[in-house]
Every structure is written in structure tokens, then in C-alpha cells.
């Protein structure tokens, strides 16, 4: 019996060992020892760099000549994007292009490798691989507190060229290593950067999903092996028996895998971890409970106990795990897993990592499937080259910058993406697998956003810290189940930081980023898709963020130029890094003139409308739907309380309050010696007759004062109605907190005003195709590119409380109130505010911020900038 099973075992082992037609064995190429191959000699050429020698050798076999070196402009641009993700300035390009110093290229390489921007660029590549996002997903999608410190750790690791073996070890076992520190414990955040279900169907089953997630990320990221597939059965294609999955999983079984308090999100407590404010991982058992193999991966079908151990695909490294020393708190399983992975004779580790580096620099990996080096992977196009670099990587103390340096200094990297005989080469090698030219690439989402900010001069290079939430169009937020609380944009000054610092929230990835293939972060992503789809064109053409950059750049080039021609040339240099050719300048000027004329026409028409009458009542009567002022048309009851307030707009929306207890009082001299209606803040409010407006373009204007001492919500005008279910879609204007303006629940963030308390003010708010704005005493308080989400207008309108909520009462005066069914232009708001300021003897704090877009010449320039930002030359890197 025993003999029989031994024979059977041997038979199975040999099946496992030898690669067949449908599966890989232990002799699979990626599992063989990495030996540094001899660099081939290239006849007739001397001083050929090793990378080039391997590439040339294969090209020679096919009788293909590589393309010539790239021109200097293309080269510096490519190198900038590849190493730091931001384009070079025109000056940098010029200096580099004209430099006669033969070391100028290698010096540039060093300069960029030493730039702090390098770590920000390369960290993002790694964050994809470890399925990093900052929230848990599922029911609540809660933010993982302090997980951003892991992102900062990765940036620092790349910047300091942390040896890759240390990089691996700290992420796996930063809590177990000898010189463990807060920083190395932060690194273990990698294990927890994935999804976490706060309300799993079955908490006991969910443990095994968590194990799978960790096995998956570790085995694909570091080893390029899909060990996850062996949870249910022996791997179908690779020599990974089912028990190997559990041997690896046992490393994580020692941690907080058992269901626990939701507050700590499946991780250790601060006491267990040893650090507060760190989102990391550690063991809670020195000797964890046994882990059973699960038949078909089913948590309810436990089979034999599996001892922790290594993957058997590297037999020479497969030795039993040792027990941790007595004083150890942890099981040392992850530490030994890290040692297994970083052992210089592990055949996969170095190959997998250098292939990732190659892919990011050359556009495609030597192995095109960077997360899979198994039987179903793409075969290496240059296996010897891969091994040569991998061996060099290990010999070079696992220096990532060292590998990058070797590659970017090669002629292969520097060759042109244009080939004089491209047609013939495409016939032989359509995928450019042999590298007869450089691969042209589209900017990825981060490079694109960062470049837009960089060329407009707005990119904020502050490093590290908590992520920022970008301002999003309200329609982009509609997918949230909790619309109002799910997304609060960060203060504007935070929003110009590099994209690596942008929040990645699993319930809503930023649309501009996903349009350009920012990946879904549930699973490890080794190479992003690079699609070319219509939604990208729509985003670039229409997105507010892109337009704002064009406007900003237009303002800048206009300020520093003497003529429009100079300004266009300057914009060209900023965006494309070069001056326009004569023919380009001609069509650009044509476009500019065409646009200026167009915008002038539009302005003239608008002026004509405005010029028809100078009297304020008439100029501003277009679209006026409701107008009350305390000096005209009021009727009071015997107690001096307001009985009727006539609508002056001619639309019959008269204002009344039938309940005498709830009427506000009329005050003859209130604001600027003029009358106003005074609300006590206690149950007083007024009803407006009829539906004031129907459309989604509107402007509200009020002259009022706020006497409230509480920080609760208080409303000037509102049509909120919970019973009619418009609690999230009503329109209202009011204050909250000390003096924060709320313009419906869709626009309530960061709109603090000062000097409102006790003092009268002019407040206006508008929404429509110009976006949505709030103005306070003639000053633009907030200006959002998008309009409010659709509002429901059919519920009853009231003054002085939140619709029919019986609360949020106004405490203070209201002297004048106007509602337009159109969005007033900034100039119109300015003129009406001026008139009201005169009438009520108020000071305008500032002149209204004029939208620069209203100037036809600036708009013309912005149009040129916007088109250049949309051009293929900007988006693609040759």
C-alpha cells in the first residue's frame, strides 16, 4: 500500500515536473535559475551596450535595421514622461536640444532619477500592482484611515532607491524584521489596501476571501504567479498544487483574519500593531490555529491541516519553516515568505520586477503579461535579455534606479518611433515585438492630468499627506447611495496637486481618470488598458477641468505677451514644447480671429439686449419671476405684522401668512434706513403664492441680515418638502454654521462668508449653463463649473424657513428678494448688486470677479490653448 502510494506520488511528481502540451512543469522557463547569459557580439559594431546587443541580435536574424535615434526634443519629452510623468519646459527642451555636451543625456537621466517627482511617478505604477485604493468598498465604502501613509512610503522607497529585496520584505513583514520601525510597519499597509467587506454574508466564509485576496496580491505582485487559482484545485496550468495555496495562505492566517470589530476594519488594533495612526498588519498569534485545506475551496468542506510552507515550484528553496524564537510575538511566517521571495536564487522575483520596469519604459513588457509568468503567459520576446537584466538587478543590490538607468541609456530606448521602412517591418513584426522602433504611447490618466496642470502653471508640487477630493460635476456624484455625504471636495488650493495624491474611492473613481483607463482597484493590475474611445474626446472637449486649464493658460500668455501672435507662440511652447511652424501659426491665427469675431458678435447681441433700456427695473426685468421689497406693496395687520407682501414682478406670486402668530414684523428703518421684514427666528415665515419658477436656470438675490447666534441651518427662501419627496432635490438659499452659505444641498461646501453676522448684506446665487455661483456683497464666494443637480420646482415656496419642515427659521431682516428664471451674467449681477448697495447704503467689498471668458480676445486665446491641449501631439509621446 505504501509502496503503491509512493509510486503514485512519484508519478504525480513527474507529471508536475515536466512541461507538457497543456501545462507547465517545474522545468518551465520562468522557474529555471536566472543565469546571466553572455552578451552576444554584433558583427561590425563595437561598444554595443548589453541591452542593445540582445535586441540587435534578434533584429539581425530578421534582417531588420532599427530606427535611427530620436531627435533631441522627442527624447527629452519621452524621458521626462517615463521618469517623472511631467513634460519638460520649452526652455529645458531648447537647452537640451542645443547642448553639445556628449554627457548631457546621461546627466539628464541622473537629474530626473534624483527628482522627487520620480518617486511620485513610479509609486503609482506600483499602487496599481497592489490593488491600492483608499476605501473599503461594499456597503459603506469607508475610508481606510492613514492608508495614505503607505502611498507616501512607496513614493519615498522609489525616491531613495530602496533595494527591492528590502522593498518586498517591509511590505510583507515590516513588523517582523529586526529593525522594525513605524515606517516599515506602514509598509505592511499593502496587505490591507484591497477591499474589505464590513458586512459579509457569512463572516466565517469571508475569512477565506480575505486570505485569497492576500495570496493573490502577494503572488502576482512579487512572483508573477496566479497562486489564487489553486484555492479550489491544483493549478490547471502551472505547477502549483492546491496545498501550496494553503501553505502560502497560512502566512496571513496568523493575523487578524477572524471576524472582529468593524471599527478596525479587519486589521490589528493600535496596541496589537504597536503604533497609533498606522494602517498596517501584524500577527496576533505566535502559533496560529491550524489552517485546513478546503475541498473545492469551500469553507464548509475542511480537509487535512496544511503546515505553513513555501511554494514547491522552487524546490531548491522549499525548506520547512522554522518556529519563531520564544520572545517573538509573531509567527515569522511572513518574514520567511519574504525571505523565500527575496532569495537571490528565487527564479521569479527579479525577472518579474525587471519586466515591470521594462514595460513602463518601453510600452510593453518582454513578457507582455506582467502579472503572469506561468503557462498561460505571453512568451518572452527576448528571454536572454530578460535574464541578463534580472541577473544584473540582483548583482546590483536590487537597485531599481540601476535597472532604469541601464535601460534608458541604451540605444534601443533612445531610438525613434518613426522608421523609414515601417511598412516592411510591420509585415514581418506587426506588434513591434523585436523593437525595431520605439513604441508611441498615449499619456496615462495621471500624466495627462498632471501635464494639464503643469502647462497651465498650476501644478502644486507639495508632497505627501492626506489625499485630496477633486471638485466633480454634480452629475458625476449621482451614483452614490448617500449623495450628500459621500464626497466633499477639498479646499481649492489642494486640488492642484499631482494625481498620485488624488483620493481613489472604490464607489466612485474620478470620471476624467477612468476615461483614460485608470484601473478598477479591486484586483492587482499589472498593465493598464490603453483605449481610444469617444468618451475621452468628450472629456477633453467639454470637461470643466480641461477648460479651466485653457482659460488659465490663456490669461497667463496674454499677460506676458505684447501681441496676440506672441501669445499664441508662447502657448504653443508651453503646451507642445516648441514654437509653431509658419503654416501652423497661420491656421492658429485664423482660428483665433474667427473665434474673436464670433465672441464679439455674441457680446454685441447681448449688449443690444442690455442697451434697450437703462432703468434697472427694465434692464433686469428679463426673466424676473418674483420680486418683493419692503418699501413697496406691503400690508400689515394691526400689530404691525406682515399680512401681505405684493409681488412686484407682475407674476402674482404674492406673499402671505394666514396665522397671525407666525407673521414676521415690518420695521420701517432697518437696513440703510430703509424698511425690512424682521423674522424672530421663532416659527415666523411667509408663504409665496404659486410656483415661482419651472426651469433649471435661475438666479436668487436677497438683501438681508443675519441675527442668529446659533450655528444651525436657517433659510431665506426654500421649497423643501419632505412629503413630496424633494428633500434632496429642493431649491433653497440660506446660511448654516457661523456664516456658511447653503445654495440647496448640492452646493454647500466651503462657502464661508465673513462680516455677515449682524450686518446687512447682498447675497446672490445662480445656476445654469455658466455653472453655479454664489456672490456675497459683490464678491464671488464660490464658483463651480457645473450647474446644480436638477431641482424640483413644483412644491410650495416659502420665505424664512426650510419649506414645510417647520424649522430652520430665519432670524434677521429681509428687505428685498428677487428670483429670476434665467442665469444672470456676472455683469448683470454686478450692476444689480451695485444698485441694491446704493439703495441700502451697503459697501461692496470687491468688484465682482469678472469671468475672463467674457473678453472675446482672451476667449479666442483660450480656444487656441484648448485645441492644443486636445491635439494628438500633446497626448501622445513619440
Amino acid at each position: 500500500m505504501r509502496a503503491c502510494s509512493q509510486i503514485l506520488g512519484f508519478f504525480l511528481l513527474s507529471l508536475q515536473s515536466i512541461t507538457g502540451a497543456d501545462r507547465a512543469g517545474l522545468d518551465w522557463w520562468s522557474l529555471s535559475e536566472v543565469k546571466q547569459p553572455v552578451v552576444p557580439e554584433i558583427s561590425g559594431e563595437e561598444n554595443v551596450k548589453p541591452v542593445d546587443a540582445f535586441v540587435r541580435n534578434r533584429l539581425k536574424e530578421q534582417n531588420i535595421k532599427p530606427s535611427p535615434p530620436s531627435d533631441r526634443h522627442t527624447l527629452i519629452r519621452r524621458l521626462h514622461f517615463d521618469l517623472i510623468g511631467i513634460p519638460p519646459s520649452h526652455e529645458e527642451i531648447k537647452d537640451f536640444a542645443h547642448s553639445n555636451d556628449k554627457n548631457s543625456y546621461s546627466e539628464l537621466v541622473e537629474q530626473l532619477l534624483n527628482s522627487p517627482r520620480f518617486g511620485e511617478r513610479w509609486a503609482r505604477h506600483w499602487l496599481d500592482v497592489v490593488r491600492y485604493a483608499e476605501t473599503n468598498g461594499y456597503e459603506r465604502d469607508a475610508v481606510k484611515p492613514h492608508i495614505w501613509k503607505y502611498r507616501d512610503w512607496v513614493i519615498k522607497a522609489f525616491n531613495s532607491d530602496m533595494p527591492y529585496d528590502q522593498f518586498v520584505t517591509e511590505q510583507l513583514a515590516g513588523d517582523e524584521i529586526d529593525n522594525s520601525s513605524e515606517s516599515s510597519v506602514i509598509a505592511t499597509g499593502m496587505l490591507r489596501a484591497g477591499t474589505w467587506n464590513d458586512e459579509p454574508n457569512d463572516a466565517q466564509e469571508y475569512k477565506y476571501e480575505r486570505l485569497e485576496d492576500m495570496v493573490d496580491v502577494v503572488s502576482t505582485a512579487f512572483l508573477g504567479m496566479t497562486v489564487r487559482c489553486a484555492r479550489c484545485h491544483d493549478h490547471k496550468f502551472d505547477p502549483i498544487p492546491q496545498q501550496d495555496y494553503y501553505r502560502m495562505a497560512a502566512a496571513f492566517w496568523a493575523g487578524t483574519i477572524e471576524p472582529g470589530s468593524a471599527a478596525i476594519m479587519g486589521g490589528p488594533s493600535a496596541e496589537q500593531l504597536g503604533y497609533k495612526e498606522v494602517f498596517g498588519w501584524t500577527d496576533i498569534h505566535r502559533n496560529p490555529p491550524p489552517l485546513h485545506l478546503l475541498i473545492n475551496g469551500d469553507p464548509h468542506k475542511k480537509s487535512k491541516v496544511i503546515e505553513p510552507g513555501h511554494l514547491s515550484l522552487a524546490p531548491h528553496l522549499d525548506r520547512p519553516l522554522i518556529s519563531p524564537p520564544k520572545e517573538s510575538r509573531t509567527s515569522w511566517r511572513r518574514l520567511q515568505l519574504a525571505k523565500f521571495i527575496t532569495n537571490p536564487s528565487n527564479p521569479l522575483t527579479a525577472r518579474v520586477m525587471v519586466n515591470r520596469i521594462w514595460q513602463h519604459l518601453m510600452g510593453k513588457g518582454i513578457v507582455a503579461t506582467p502579472n503572469n509568468f506561468g503557462f498561460k503567459s505571453a512568451r518572452p520576446t527576448h528571454p536572454e535579455l530578460l535574464d541578463w537584466i534580472a541577473a544584473d538587478f540582483i548583482k546590483g543590490d536590487w537597485s531599481i534606479k540601476g535597472v532604469i538607468r541601464k535601460i534608458v541609456l541604451s540605444e534601443t530606448y533612445q531610438q525613434s518611433s518613426l522608421h523609414s521602412n515601417a511598412e516592411k517591418c510591420i509585415e514581418v513584426d506587426p506588434g513591434n515585438n523585436l523593437l525595431w522602433r520605439n513604441n508611441r504611447r498615449r499619456m496615462d490618466a495621471e500624466a495627462l492630468r498632471d501635464s494639464l496642470l503643469h502647462v497651465s502653471g498650476e501644478l502644486d508640487l507639495r508632497m505627501g499627506g492626506e489625499s485630496f477630493y477633486p471638485e466633480l460635476a454634480s452629475e458625476a456624484l449621482e451614483g452614490f447611495s448617500r449623495k450628500s455625504s459621500a464626497w466633499t471636495p477639498s479646499p481649492l488650493k489642494e486640488q492642484f496637486r499631482r494625481s498620485v495624491y488624488m483620493i481613489s474611492k472604490r464607489h466612485l473613481l474620478v470620471p476624467l481618470m477612468t476615461a483614460f483607463d485608470f484601473p478598477s482597484s479591486e484586483k492587482p493590475c499589472g498593465n493598464r488598458n490603453s483605449t481610444t474611445v469617444v468618451s475621452q474626446s468628450l472629456a477633453m472637449l467639454n470637461n470643466h477641468f480641461v477648460h479651466a486649464r485653457s482659460q488659465r493658460l490663456a490669461n497667463h500668455v496674454n499677460e506676458v505677451s505684447n501681441s496676440k501672435k506672441d501669445a499664441i507662440v508662447f502657448a504653443w511652447k508651453k503646451i507642445l514644447g516648441r514654437a509653431p511652424f509658419v503654416d501652423e501659426l497661420t491656421i492658429a491665427l485664423d482660428h483665433y480671429n474667427q473665434q474673436v469675431n464670433h465672441f464679439k458678435d455674441i457680446n454685441d447681441q447681448a449688449m443690444k439686449v442690455r442697451g434697450q433700456s437703462r432703468a434697472v427695473d427694465k434692464v433686469l426685468s428679463s426673466g424676473l419671476r418674483f420680486w418683493v421689497s419692503a418699501d413697496v406693496g406691503k400690508t400689515t395687520d394691526p400689530n404691525g405684522k406682515l399680512l401681505l407682501w405684493k409681488d412686484r414682478s407682475g407674476n402674482g406670486h404674492d406673499v402671505t401668512q394666514a396665522d397671525s402668530e407666525r407673521r414676521p414684523i415690518y420695521v420701517g428703518k432697518a437696513i440703510g434706513e430703509k424698511p425690512a421684514i424682521r423674522f424672530s427666528g421663532k416659527k415666523e415665515f411667509l408663504k409665496i403664492k404659486g410656483q415661482v419658477i419651472k426651469g433649471q436656470e435661475f438666479t436668487l438675490l436677497a438683501v438681508a441680515s443675519d441675527r442668529s447666534s446659533s450655528e444651525e441651518h436657517r433659510e431665506i427662501i426654500s421649497n423643501w418638502n419632505g412629503r413630496a419627496e424633494n428633500s434632496t432635490s429642493s431649491l433653497f438659499l440660506g446660511l448654516t454654521g457661523k456664516s456658511t452659505v447653503r445654495f440647496s444641498d448640492d452646493f454647500s461646501s466651503n462657502n464661508k462668508i465673513t462680516g455677515a453676522s449682524g450686518n446687512p448684506f447682498i447675497l446672490s446665487a445662480s445656476s445654469g449653463s455658466l455653472g453655479s455661483q454664489i456672490n456675497f456683497n459683490g464678491q464671488t464666494l464660490a464658483d463651480r463649473g457645473s450647474s446644480l443637480k436638477e431641482r424640483r420646482m413644483d412644491t410650495e415656496w416659502v420665505i424664512g424657513q426650510q419649506g414645510n419642515i417647520e424649522g430652520e427659521y430665519w432670524n434677521g431682516d429681509i428687505a428685498e428678494l428677487l428670483v429670476y428664471e434665467r442665469q444672470l451674467e456676472p455683469q448683470e449681477i454686478e450692476s444689480i448688486s451695485k444698485l441694491l448697495a446704493q439703495k441700502y447704503n451697503l459697501t461692496m467689498t470687491h468688484s465682482l470677479k469678472k469671468k475672463p471668458v467674457m473678453d472675446p480676445e482672451l476667449q479666442g486665446l483660450a480656444s487656441v490653448c484648448h485645441v492644443l491641449l486636445n491635439s494628438n501631439e500633446f497626448l501622445y509621446i513619440d
Partner: protein, 463 residues
Amino acid sequence: MGGGFSGLALTSLLSGSGFFPQKSLGADGPLAPRPSHFNTKAKSCIFLMMNGGPSQVDTFDYKPELRKYAGKSLPQDKRYINSGGRRVGFLTPNWRPFRPGGECGILVSDYFPNIRKHVDKLAVIRSCHADSHAHGSALVQMNTGMPLIGRPSLGTWVTYGLGSENDSLPSYVVMLDKRGGPISGMPNWSSGFMPATYQGTLFRPTGSPILDLNGPKNFTGKAQRNQLNFLDKLNRKHLIAREESEELAARIQNYELAYRMQAEAPEAVDLSDESRQTLESYGVGKFPTDEFGKNCLIARRLVERGVRFIQLYSGGGHLEETWDAHESIEKNHGRHGSEVDQPIAALLEDLDQRGLLDETLVVWGGEFGRMPFSEGKDAPGRNHNPYGFSMWMAGSGVKGGTVYGETDEFGFEAMVDRAHVHDIHATILHLMGIDHELLTYFHQGRKESLTDVHGRVIEGVIA
């Protein structure tokens, strides 16, 4: 890049438009129309998602025995997870009466008097079951097959399998309830590990339905046309030295497509050319049917325009804003039922009259059902129940007037002809002409499919 298609989208449209007639860009773009596995008339699918989980014993699964057992506990041997640790009450009969409809006489409750009139078109599956009692993961399972987030959604698979018939509109459209999105958000319409090309596009029922469809006011119309002409000149000049690049050429063409989409997408939601009679039949302009009525009508318009997969959500946000009737079945289902009953009936009728029902598969259901027992003595609500619930299908290839499967006598769990979510998905794909085992996408060393290693086509609902 995983699948058999390149990341270069819409190249087929280039050759189709004759824009670059000399280039053989091929018909292998990711959204090019593709032949189905089976002969089928189905072109589009409308998934009516009753977010929150409607109660089967109060809608399509009549259980007279519940009257007999009213006030008693569910027998001890019935095992379940008590979702959210809520109070466990007593067996409670249906809150509204059931009545037979159509010629088949299938019983439908008074929450859906109008849908009942069309019951001859429906195949009701009373034996559905799913794997999660929590909304977040159950919604994700109904949409992607697995209760774990990160996989491509049903609409993604259908679009990936069949391509698109219309290049000026997104091929996979999701219309949410105004009250909010579903729990778990974007993973419900994600393309998972497939390219974002196949991701669901959120579509708004008024004005400008797609994100970034309109720029600032001053850069629309003529000003934008001027820009596109200038851009085209620059891009063509750039292309001269790079003639072989299909990707650059595709991107040039995409700007023209984007320009067209700006006109055609708003037209798809503009109901001004619909007759008064049509608008009235869907309940447009009336409380409480206006919103879902509009969405159903837009769904029909999208079907007419060749959109492949349309998902409409009824209920959004949390708890009573959805079909999540913990507080009261009567209040909750009364409210949401009256919002959707007339619009859904009108949609079935309208599709039928226009001859579109043969080409359109309509699916109705939530992420799970509800318990046959209350949440406390005389408490009028019911807790989540993934063990047994009802869904229905109608339209292309569906055997109308059929009931498939049974729950136990309490309506608690599926007993006869159990239909797991994977089976529902396999059946939907089948009705759309796709073999769920053959439609695979290669990702990380594995051929992934919607139903993974599971799923069986429910022959009983197929005509």
C-alpha cells in the same frame, strides 16, 4: 490587455464611415457588432432593477398557507442568517390580495394591478436564490454574478459579447433613481478587469444625459465647430509622418463621433415628439409615476436606437427610499409599486405594439427577496431574504404566461427547480444569443466568464 480584442476602439467605424477608405482597419474594434452564438431575435435587454429587494410573498409568489400559520414562528429547522441582527417576528400573510391575470391566470398581487394585465407575456421564476443577505454584496452579485466587488457586470458581458449597434450612443446605459445610487456604487456597473469601454454609462433622464456632453456655454455650437476644424487640421498634419498609426487616426475620428453624440444623446431623452397618449400611458407628468415612467419611455427610445443593455433602477439610497421594506411592506411596496406598476405595464405594451418586444428581453427583479415573517409582533415590515425570491422575464424568446420553480410552503426558500443568480445570468445570456460558457475573457492566466464554473440555462422559461 486581456481579451481577444485590441484596446483600439471603434476602428471598425472608421472603415465603416469610409473616412479612411484606403485603410483596412478591420471589424475587430471592441464595440463592433458581433454575431451571437445562437439564432435569436434579441437585440437589447432592459433590466428593471428593484433596488432594495421586493417581497416575493407580497408580489408574485402567493402563499395561502401563511394565513394558516400567521402569528407562528418559522419552523426551527429552517436555517438562515438574520441580516443586520434585526428582530425576528412571526409568519405574516400577504399584505395585499392576489388575483389571477391574463389567460394563464397567474396570480399577481394588488401592488401590480397593471403588470398583472400583461402576465401572459411574463415567465415568473419563483425559485430564485442568491448568496448574500446584505444589500451591498447582493446587489453586486445580481449585477456581476459574485458577491465580491471587482468583476465585470452583466451589461458589460452582453456588450462585450454582442458589440454595439449605435456608435453615437453608449452601448450599456444605466439610469439611476433620483433618490440615489445603489449601495456599493460604481462596482454595480463596472467593467471589472475588462477595458472601461464596456463599463455602464450613467444616463440622466433630462437635458444632457451623459457626463461631459456639454462644455461651457461659450464653447458650444459654432465656437466648438471652429475648434474641431482647427484641431482636425493640426491632427492631420501630425499624422502625416505617422501614417501607419491606426490609433492616432481613430482618435481623430472620435472627435467627429463626439460631436455627433452631443446632438444625438439629448435627442434620445427628448420626449417632445412622443404623443400625449404615449406620455399618459407611461404616467409621465403625473405623481408618482413621472420619474420611472420617463425612464421606461427613454428605455424604449434607447432600444429603438440600438442600445444593447439598459438598466433602470427603482429605488435609490437607503432603506425606505428603496424596496427595503423593514418598516412596512404596505407603506413601502405601496409607494414603490405605484411608482413602477403603470410605467412597466406601459413599457411592455408599447414594446409589443411597436414590434420591439420580440427583439427585447425585459428582466424584473431585486437583489434578493424578503422574509415571510415580520420584524416583531404585529410589525408590518420584513427582513432580507436571499434564500428564495421571485423575478420575471418577458420579451424575446421568453415563454410567456409561465411559472417556473417553487418556494416552500412559507415562501421562505427555493425548493423546486432552484434558480441561482448564475442560472438567471446564464438564461439572460442565452436569450440574448450568447452561450455563457463560451463567452470568456482571458485575464491573469484564466478564462473568466460571467457565471464562472456555475450556471445552467433555465429551459423552462424559454419559448
